[in-house]
Symmetry: C2
Subunit: 179 residues, 2 copies
């Protein structure tokens, strides 16, 4: 569960780093069911779902405002590519997802650009992909940000770095007040 | 299970017609676990998997030559579109899928073009999408072809029509001998 390599093949694993923030996270326990700072190894044939319902979703936001199944993350491979890419699909009829500057309605999907901030309701989720060699497995790692990911950028500070991300794609500039 | 409409909303459902053929289907029972000529209603948030393993897959090919999980079919919606589109993803490391004239390796995916023949091993699968109004649900309907779907086309006969398909996309011309 905390390995950086696939034990069978010794290939490095692509890691999906997820940094979450909610303005009332200290009081409302919305992230209580996420295991922070642990790497979790997943099969690339899986579709990983995020949402409120622990019976259906892999990663849980404990919050009545969040849809039962909110969105999915799934790996794929471009034809002739040797690295994993990821796709995000909105599975909620009532909630729009802002992935970078792309707004996803119900069943809309977008290819994850390598690094971006996703927003829904008051939630801010920074996602960063660190490429690895294995195609069969990948891993996720959750971090909790003590402060807004948007404010940091407004103050000119960098967003938290989890190190080693091979992508140079920066989140699109967004004005908090627009949300 | 056999409705043409979503009972709650009276919207028509997009139907995914699947016509299968295997040269030894009369003897080897590979399609024994498919329920032919029945419409099955599925949620659009589902990822429908095809393969050998009944514990994991929704639709089963009973054949040791077929991968445990072979491929997935999943609905999505293009931004600003009011109809369901579908994507096919190869989940098998050992089997290539030919979707029309696109060859999919492990984790490769392609948007389903509305009507095409998929081939893997000796299997021929004609897929046809009939558009409906509902975004929340769709349905599948399986048919068994008594003869090769490729031969029929070579003899100039039309491939079996399941009626009402709104797509005019024809399968790409393929030479049997190339397979």
């Amino acid at each position: 569960m905390a390995s950086f390599e696939d034990a069978d093949t010794e290939e490095t694993l692509t890691c999906f780093h997820v940094t979450v923030y909610h303005p009332r996270q200290d009081h409302n326990q919305v992230f209580e069911r996420l295991r922070f700072c642990k790497r979790e190894k997943l099969s690339s044939t899986e579709v990983v779902t995020f949402g409120r319902n622990p019976k259906v979703c892999h990663y849980i936001f404990q919050d009545n405002q969040v849809s039962r199944i909110l969105f999915s993350l799934q790996p794929f491979r471009d034809i002739n590519s040797s690295i994993l890419s990821f796709e995000i699909k909105n599975l909620s009829k009532k909630t729009s997802l802002l992935v970078g500057n792309v707004e996803l309605g119900y069943l809309n999907k977008t290819e994850f650009p390598g690094r971006c901030i996703m927003r829904f309701g008051d939630y801010q989720v920074l996602m960063e992909k660190e490429d690895g060699e294995s195609l069969e497995y990948f891993e996720t790692r959750f971090m909790l940000s003590p402060r807004s990911l948007l404010e940091e950028r407004h103050l000119g500070s960098p967003v938290p770095e989890n190190g080693g991300s091979s992508s140079s794609l920066l989140p699109t500039e967004m004005d908090e007040n627009e949300y």
